[in-house]
């Protein structure tokens, strides 16, 4: 997840490495605007082989790094 975020958002390596469970994302990272979020969702679908339903698209998914990781884990587990 760290890798995908770093790739898609072109985060500085130190920023990506410094992300912890509680790190805020949307609204805190200037790299992450609404278009970047949408791009990130597509990228997650591609790389993890998951399908994100339209009604799951929620700004809260991106509230923290931990929230995003748990969401991806739930989706991968099916």
């Amino acid at each position: 997840m760290r890798r995908i975020l770093a790739d898609v958002l072109a985060l500085a390596p130190t920023t990506a490495a410094g992300l912890s469970h509680d790190s805020p994302l949307f609204g805190a990272l200037p790299e992450l605007d609404s278009m970047a979020v949408a791009g990130l969702l597509t990228e997650l679908e591609d790389r993890l082989g998951i399908v994100i339903d339209d009604d799951e698209v929620d700004a809260d998914l991106f509230s923290t790094f931990g929230a995003l990781v748990s969401f991806a884990e739930r989706k991968v587990a099916g």
Binding site: G27, S34, V37, A38, T42, V57
Partner: protein, 234 residues
């Protein structure tokens, strides 16, 4: 800093403002911009690519699609394909012509009339592009209103015949239908595909500027792309 010309180029009934760089003869690469907001985010990449190709003795033409940038006229999606097809044909009358497409621009041409087409990070369909725009709008609306906004809401409005705004662009039901019907055309001429991820003929390191609110510098990526394009043109 090399000079460049900013002039109108004829593409059928359209007169497209274009940035023209490089020598007046020899091969020319038509740089096809991506669509909607990605066009803005890729502007610097395409400018850097034009400069990097000019430094290798290869000319480029970077037009504004009808109804975008400095170009007049409304912008039905079909006019974009038509204009790019006409411009390719008119360039090919006098010199070897190659087409470079990036992201949504890849949906506008399969390289008809050109010697070759170079696809960089092509979008697979207009539907994918529109879905991303709707998702981005949903996220933005949720952030603005604090309420629950779903992508299906925009689809429902379009289905009712109402135009909507998606990430700052007026999208009418007609444009939405045209966009949704766009697929990656099969390449009609020599084709090379490159991306930031594997799967094509070449992989590049670089920022996905089309996803970035504040696009990262693209000198290095443009230079690597230019080197690959120059080698491909031969």
């Amino acid at each position: 800093m090399q000079a460049f010309d900013f002039r109108f180029v004829d593409a059928d009934e359209f007169q497209l403002p274009a940035i023209v760089r490089g020598p007046a003869d020899g091969p020319v690469v038509l740089l096809v911009p991506p669509l909607f907001e990605e066009m803005n985010r890729c502007r610097r990449l395409l400018a850097d690519l034009g400069r990097a190709l000019a430094a290798r003795g290869i000319a480029t033409v970077l037009p504004d699609l009808p109804g975008t940038g400095d170009s007049a006229a409304a912008a039905p999606v079909a006019s974009w394909s038509m204009a790019i097809g006409a411009l390719t044909a008119s360039l090919a009358l006098s010199r070897p012509t190659y087409v470079f497409v990036v992201r949504g621009g890849a949906l506008l041409t399969g390289g008809v009339g050109a010697t070759g087409i170079y696809r960089f990070a092509p979008v697979s369909s207009g539907a994918v592009l529109m879905r991303e725009m709707m998702r981005a709008q949903a996220i933005a609306d949720q952030e603005r209103t604090g309420g629950r906004v779903s992508v299906s809401g925009y689809e429902a409005e379009l289905a009712k015949g109402n135009a909507g705004r998606l990430i700052g662009y007026e999208v009418t039901p007609d444009i939405a239908a045209e966009l949704a019907a766009l697929t990656l055309p099969s390449a009609t001429s020599s084709c090379r595909t490159a991306d930031l991820k594997s799967g094509g003929d070449a992989v590049f390191e670089g920022p996905p500027v089309w996803r970035q609110a504040d696009p990262a510098p693209t000198h290095a990526l443009a230079d690597a792309l230019a080197a690959d394009i120059a080698a491909w043109i031969g």
